[in-house]
């Protein structure tokens, strides 16, 4: 477990920094309120509509495809770790796997699965 101590320290430090920044700005900063300032920030434009707007179902396709290729990438981690021991055999094994998914990628791009219009 010792090798995970740095991860824990990084996590704690990250949390502390975030908390310090939030509290420091509320304590030290000068507060001015106005109707415009209290609105949610929307790239400098006056906000329009609800932030809870409904997404188009088209984005769901992108999300599902993301999961599929995320799972593919997950298989690459252990492969990279043992790559040297496996040698050519492992290379061909992964090549076949990736080739199958490249077929899927080409198919998906050509069918317009990634176009958002």
């Amino acid at each position: 477990m010792d090798q995970y101590v740095p991860v824990l320290i990084a996590l704690i430090l990250g949390g502390v920094v975030a908390l310090v920044m939030t509290f420091a700005s509320t304590m030290l900063g000068v507060k001015t309120h106005s109707a415009v300032k209290d609105e949610p920030f929307e790239c400098g434009n006056p906000p329009s509509g609800s932030a809870w707007g409904r997404f188009s179902v088209k984005f769901y396709l992108a999300a599902i495809l993301f999961i599929v290729f995320d799972v593919e990438v997950v298989f690459l981690y252990p492969w990279a770790v043992v790559f040297r021991q496996l040698g050519l055999f492992g290379f061909i094994a992964m090549l076949l796997f990736v080739l199958v998914l490249v077929v899927g990628l080409v198919y998906e791009v050509k069918k317009g699965g990634l176009e958002s219009t």
């Binding site: 477990m1 599902i64 981690y77 998914l101």
Partner: protein
């Protein structure tokens, strides 16, 4: 895993898990679910399942949660519409929970501590050990997974693209 660490992890885990079902806003529920999955990943680390812990964060807290949030945004559920429909499920959940507790109790009675202390092989559960098994012994399942993912891509495009 000693007593103190166990409870230091278990109490926040149970709290955030309860918040997942107790919070009225679905988006907050989803974020609490992310925390639950993170804390579960730490448990996997204590069980020497290093790769599973990494997968828990990459796939579940990463990809699956994105999908959850997408669904919430697609359906645009407001917290008040959800609250009215909650009744009826509670009773089923309580019955299921009681059965699960009884099962766990039975399992705890049956198993002795000797199982827990049996020694693990060196490198058990590391990414390296998993990789060396996956690409040799489990080579064929690995390649079939590629086909399975391809079918998933085709299926998603066929059904969702007009």
């Amino acid at each position: 895993m000693d007593f103190v660490t166990f409870f230091a992890l278990a109490i926040p885990l149970v709290v955030v898990a309860v918040m997942v079902i107790a919070h009225p806003s679905p988006v907050y529920s989803a974020l609490f679910l992310v925390m639950t999955l993170f804390l579960l990943a730490v448990y996997f680390l204590f069980l020497n399942a290093h790769m599973v812990a990494a997968l828990q964060i990459i796939v579940y807290a990463g990809a699956i949660m994105v999908l959850f949030l997408f669904v919430i945004m697609l359906l645009n559920l407001q917290s008040d519409t959800l609250r009215t429909q909650r009744h009826g499920l509670g009773r089923v959940a309580i019955i299921g929970g009681v059965i699960l507790l009884a099962e766990l109790g039975l399992l705890l009675q049956g198993s002795s501590s000797e199982l827990a202390e049996s020694s693990l092989p060196e490198n058990f559960g590391t990414v390296e050990a998993l990789g060396s098994q996956l690409f040799t012994k489990y080579l064929l399942p690995f390649e079939i997974t590629g086909i399975l993912l391809l079918v998933a891509v085709v299926g998603a495009v066929v059904l969702a693209k007009r």
